[in-house]
Symmetry: C2
Subunit: 766 residues, 2 copies
């Protein structure tokens, strides 16, 4: 078997083109180890692996056992080992005694170690030079190149390449080549599958069965406490004759072998690993399926495997790419964000969604937040509508969990979890969020309509959406308190601004709930008059009483909004003015760190210091309802008291700044959005990717700079572009009601070109 070669596609690239597609790490810095592990996470929807070194990292055991507490996210001081590996399969979760359900960090299957006369190749302990690493965003392949001068006197050029196949999603392909530049000696290779892995300090493995044979085959069967089975199977091949010896331990399947090398020799080793679980929607045992997948892969060969994989990525980029001329730094960062969005999406599997860290770390425990609907969905619905549909279908699939949540609180209907896992039941271990940040339930309805309007997929609404609508409307009617003037109120509410946990009539929440109830009534009306069969079926299925629709209508009509069009400043909530003013300058002495580190939660909770955009988010979602003066005033009032301690905040501010034509500020926000995951100072990707911010970056470009009118409110593509300074041309594709368009904006004009023979509409930039 020979190593696969990349196709012409990736060969002979212009250096510049490579800079715009390859995310590079220049020089190894142990302090950035964890950051790059997050940033270089690879994935294919089915599984995800952080960008750890094949040989691991010294002084960073992966099985540290400790009890992690459900602290306030701002206040928590999580552990910071030098390295944290991460192997995640969406859907494989287990219970943590304090943190509830968390995605399990699975056994590490990338293990490949090299030893020269007992000296283990180690980035921190050996004589290593010429370090280069890069993630090729075009195909999601990760590359490393180093020179290793062994103590024995060999000088080896080592190159590592790996990818998780986008076409054969159970498969990971690794290739390592060691070229002897000078010297000679024996070299040992050790390949492992390691289960000495903890998730947030917790062991979730009930049974581990390592196995290996001298034919170069390794396997590790893991059964979690919840009973999930994970089977990992690897096949090793080497260009030199190597005799493999089994070196299994209780936790690890391992093979070790050696060969002798001289100057000019090249040793190539490949490791093909297939991973199967009992959650796969396939017939057969995990073991049988793993062997089948591996056999299939070996039959195809490395070249063909790569071709299939690369073609998949190419197709994804065709729809998702955003091209920016004139700003190479933005170009590569935007593409890296899009890469993580593409990778995180589980494609056909609507039993899971996209977790808050994009399956690139243990933070947030692999859970699903409102980010999915509000921050991520627009990207997917305009680049991959099927993926967007699956994300909403996930909410339909977890409606039963949402019903249980409502019941647990003593309400009828369905109440979506602030933090959802597989069942939809509440997983948030901090009650102030779980109990009071209720807007998630309305956000899902907003997203549902956004999707339907953007795609025209009315069938989704009729078949699935109506259940969500009716059940959540029932919850809202129970959740509303009626004041003595006959108005409905939402008390004890945490809005998107999580620094005020307990407000009266949060403007964002109340508007979203009103929308949700209004749309429920409208959809019931429309279904009844249009498709009375569907309506009758839904009414029966949901036990819809005749008077309920009237209750929904009444509640929607009478639900208080704490603002009107006459107000100069739209208040965040009815009680907002009563909170205390904060002297930011005296408190927040280091603005490179979150404001939350400089104030106790107690004080924060009674102060006008916002964690994130709240009223601005409202105005972003309902742009037609707020005159420009109100938007301008809200931006001027709230931005200075917003700490942006949440990664969801900056992109929203950027869009609003762009709408208001505050170009410099919008560009500054763009820089901040990009810094969240990419800044080496912040090491923002250490705990995973801020995937909502990746979606926010797409929105900042598409809704902000290109000025696309939201499909929620516009039937047709309308643009009002305002490009950042220096951007010569911005172009991207969108899907709009089933049709594909290419949008191209440059400094003087914009063009909307319908693809597949559609008409092009031309206009002028402002």
């Amino acid at each position: 078997m020979t190593l696969g070669k990349k196709t012409g596609e990736t060969e002979g690239l212009q250096m510049n083109e490579e800079n715009l597609w390859c995310l590079k790490e220049d020089g190894y810095d142990p302090g950035l180890h964890k950051h790059y592990e997050g940033l270089f996470t690879q994935g294919n929807g089915y599984m995800h692996v952080r960008g750890s070194f094949e040989e691991g990292c010294s002084d960073a055991p992966q099985d540290e056992e400790y009890l992690r507490f459900p602290d306030n996210v701002t206040l928590e001081k999580p552990r910071h080992p030098k390295s944290k590996q991460g192997t995640f399969i969406p859907g494989i979760v287990a219970r943590h005694p304090l943190l509830k359900e968390e995605i399990v960090n699975l056994p590490y299957y990338l293990g490949l170690e090299f030893l020269s006369a007992g000296e283990r190749m180690d980035m921190d302990r050996c004589r290593i030079s010429g370090y280069q690493r890069w993630l090729d965003l075009r195909d999601g392949s990760l590359h490393r190149s180093v020179i290793w001068e062994t103590a024995e006197g060999m000088k080896l050029h080592c190159t590592f390449t790996r990818y998780l196949s986008m076409a054969d999603t159970h498969l990971c392909i690794q290739q390592v080549q060691l070229e002897v530049l000078s010297g000679e000696g024996s070299l040992e290779v050790k390949a492992t599958l390691r289960a000495d892995v903890r998730t947030n300090g917790m062991n979730h493995f009930a049974r581990i069965v390592p196995s290996a044979d001298s034919e170069g085959s390794l396997s590790l069967e893991t059964i979690t406490e919840e009973g999930n089975q994970i089977f990992m199977l690897s096949a090793l091949e080497a260009s030199e004759a190597i005799v493999w010896h089994t070196e299994n331990t209780r936790m690890t399947a391992a093979l070790r072998g050696k060969c002798r090398l001289r100057t000019g020799d090249r040793l190539a080793v490949s490791k093909l690993t297939t991973v199967t679980t009992d959650r796969d929607m396939e017939e057969g045992t995990v073991r049988d399926r793993a062997f089948t997948h591996l056999g299939h892969a070996r039959n195809l060969g490395l070249q063909q495997l790569y071709n299939r994989h690369a073609a998949k990525w190419k197709s994804k980029w065709q729809h998702a790419d955003i091209r920016i001329k004139g700003d190479d730094a933005a170009q590569i960062n935007v593409r890296a964000s899009l890469y993580h969005l593409i990778r995180s999406n589980a494609e056909q599997d609507a039993r899971v969604a996209i977790c808050a860290k994009g399956y690139a770390g243990e933070a947030y425990f692999g859970r699903y937040f409102w980010d999915t609907e509000i921050n991520l969905l627009p990207f997917f619905m305009h680049t991959n509508p099927q993926a967007a549909r699956n994300l909403l279908l996930f909410r339909y699939n977890t409606l039963e969990g949402a019903r249980r949540n409502a019941r647990n609180y003593g309400y009828r209907g369905a109440r979506y979890a602030w933090e959802s896992s597989l069942s939809g039941e509440e997983q948030c271990a901090n009650w102030q969020y779980a109990d009071h940040e209720i807007h998630i339930t309305a956000d899902i309805v907003y997203a549902l309509y956004h999707y339907v309007n953007a795609t025209g997929d009315d069938e989704f609404l009729e078949r699935y959406g109506i259940d969500i609508l009716v059940e959540t409307a029932r919850y809202w009617c129970d959740r509303v308190d009626w004041n003595r003037e006959g108005y409905g109120e939402l008390l004890g509410v945490m809005g998107p601004d999580e620094y005020l946990p307990f407000t009266r009539n949060n403007a964002f929440t109340n508007r979203m709930v009103k929308f949700s109830l209004e749309q429920t009534v409208a959809s019931l009306d429309s279904l009844q008059s249009g498709k009375s069969d569907s309506f009758a079926a839904a009414a029966e299925r949901l036990g819809l009483r005749p008077d309920e629709r009237e209750l929904f209508r009444h509640t929607a009509e009478k639900l208080r909004l704490p603002y009107d069009s006459q107000m100069e400043i739209v208040p965040q909530s009815d009680d907002f003015t009563g909170y205390a003013d904060v002297e930011f300058d005296s408190l927040w002495t280091d603005r490179s760190r979150p404001f939350g580190h400089f104030i106790s939660q107690e004080r924060n909770y009674r102060s006008k210091a916002l964690k994130q955009a709240d009223v601005l988010e409202l105005m972003l979602l309902f742009p037609q309802e707020f005159p420009r003066e109100q938007l301008e005033a809200a931006y001027a009032y709230y931005e200075p008291i917003t700490t942006h301690d949440s990664s969801l905040s900056v992109a929203v501010h950027g869009i609003v700044a762009s709408w208001l034509n505050h170009k410099e500020e919008a560009e500054a926000f763009l820089q901040r959005v990009m810094a969240i995951d990419f800044s080496l100072e912040k090491k923002g990707a250490a705990e995973g990717i801020h995937i909502a911010n990746c979606g926010g970056l797409w929105q900042l470009i598409v809704y902000g700079f290109a000025g696309l009118a939201s499909a929620m409110w516009s039937d047709t593509i309308k643009l009002q572009p305002r490009l950042p300074e220096g951007w010569e041309e911005l172009s991207f594709q969108i899907v709009w009601r089933g049709e594909h368009y290419r949008i191209t904006v440059n400094s003087g004009a914009y063009e909307v070109q319908k693809l597949n023979g559609g008409e092009a509409v031309a206009g002028t930039t402002i």
Copy 2:
């Protein structure tokens, strides 16, 4: 050695007199096991032991290991084993990973088991009849009498007696007698010291060294995780010749021996146990001191030991007793409450205070709350001023912890912990209480003045109090927010009513803080003009800046009160009217259970459903500031929306009802107060004694029914009695500014008799 006999004092009692002093359990009910363990807790200030059987309880292992969570107290569903033993020494605490510092449940030293032909005497498994158990409140001795018919055919009358010496506080005396009524056989005795004990599911013992010898001596040395040493040493004596065999295990020191008995024989066994710890304020090792104490006890002999103990109790009852003629049920219950108050008080040790469960259970983790100052202190300051002084000295001794609390929140000065343990640092694991229930810091200052006014102990104020005053005033000045009208506000506050966690300007809290600041200024003024040396010393010690007093004065003056004398209803807080009304009848379908079980915390937190008296507590503490109409209106408005889910609520309502001459309601509240620990239906003592409610009962009788004017506001003894129906006479002693008085109230008149030759003041009841 012969068994000790009680002195004449307790012999030849009239049956009725015994009923008024002996708390009885008639007939054994396994379902009430845990309740009686709490209710029959014995103690002497130094140590406390729950009323468990000497032989233990089948099916209730004491070493169940589990992780208890810091749940909301109302929502928590704690474990309910059939039996929970408890051995507590105030000051021996350890860290729980989730619950912070908790008092350690120490090894069980009462163990005495009896076996007949292998059949272990067991209340649930043997043929037992004639069960009687009673706690004699006069001397705190616990008695049990049963007939045991063994499978082998012996009929044994078994009597168990024990007490913790009030005079020799390291000592526990146990006496068991078995009289053979018929049959014969061999009988085995097993004596144990058992360390297989967990506290709230957690092991806190790092080292256990059991030891025993055939001379009838047993010892158990325990070292906790925190490094505390506890040494238990027992000496066995029996009336028959018994050869003792060692039966130690890793966790248990045990001796076993047997004798043969025939009809008419009596076997008497005594076990004297001394307990010492490294926290004792005595010289020498724990081991040496335990042997010294035990030797001393054995030299004295059982009779003299008992006499010393009984004399101490007699002296305590002389000051503390409340005599009620005409209501025997109230009489015994009141005495039982007084018994627990007396027992819980650590006498001379101001390193500890009285924990919320009166050291009678693991609930509330042995911590100190505002209960101490507001609910318990009046009883102690009028019956045992030295004990009251020690309770306040405890707060002085933990001032450094309070300073750390303030610093942790970013404030200057001192902030007392909502839940305190030894150091004064915050131990409450639920942030909504720890962060927002801030009134504790002012409550302590209120109590300080209450104590000084009641006792005339001005020296305490000058020597200790001034530091508390200045440091807490500094905290308040930092905690206050200033609104745009120039008034100080306290935002984000949980008042005594813990069902509204996040209010604006809670009336109770703001009034207490204003008082606290005003008194600080007044005391500084007075100290400076009176004892300028003391003032100068304090000013230097505290780094008091010249402008600080002006800041205290200004803050006191400008601190907003959410009410004035014109208002019909004093609002609980500025935002109170905005909370939602609750339809109690539809929600609270079983009023025998707490309201909190019928509503989610989320909904509760936004509803007008009070956990406990809040405005009424304010009016109780500042009676002169509220005209009767406001008191009447507050009672009428708040009582129906108060759930009394807190045991602190009912007594306050009883006092106010009494003041308002709502006699039937006051009497109903009296019944509810007594039911809290004594009702067999509620099994209220299972987790420990509601010691604050015991103090509340004293206040209900003294402030309510006798109508004593608070020493906070009255220089002289003023009474306004309103006795409950059927009470023919109420009499009790109080200490008032150093003088002892006997107060006697009967239906027609009252009498205040100065003791030790003082004048008597007579008046007429209303």
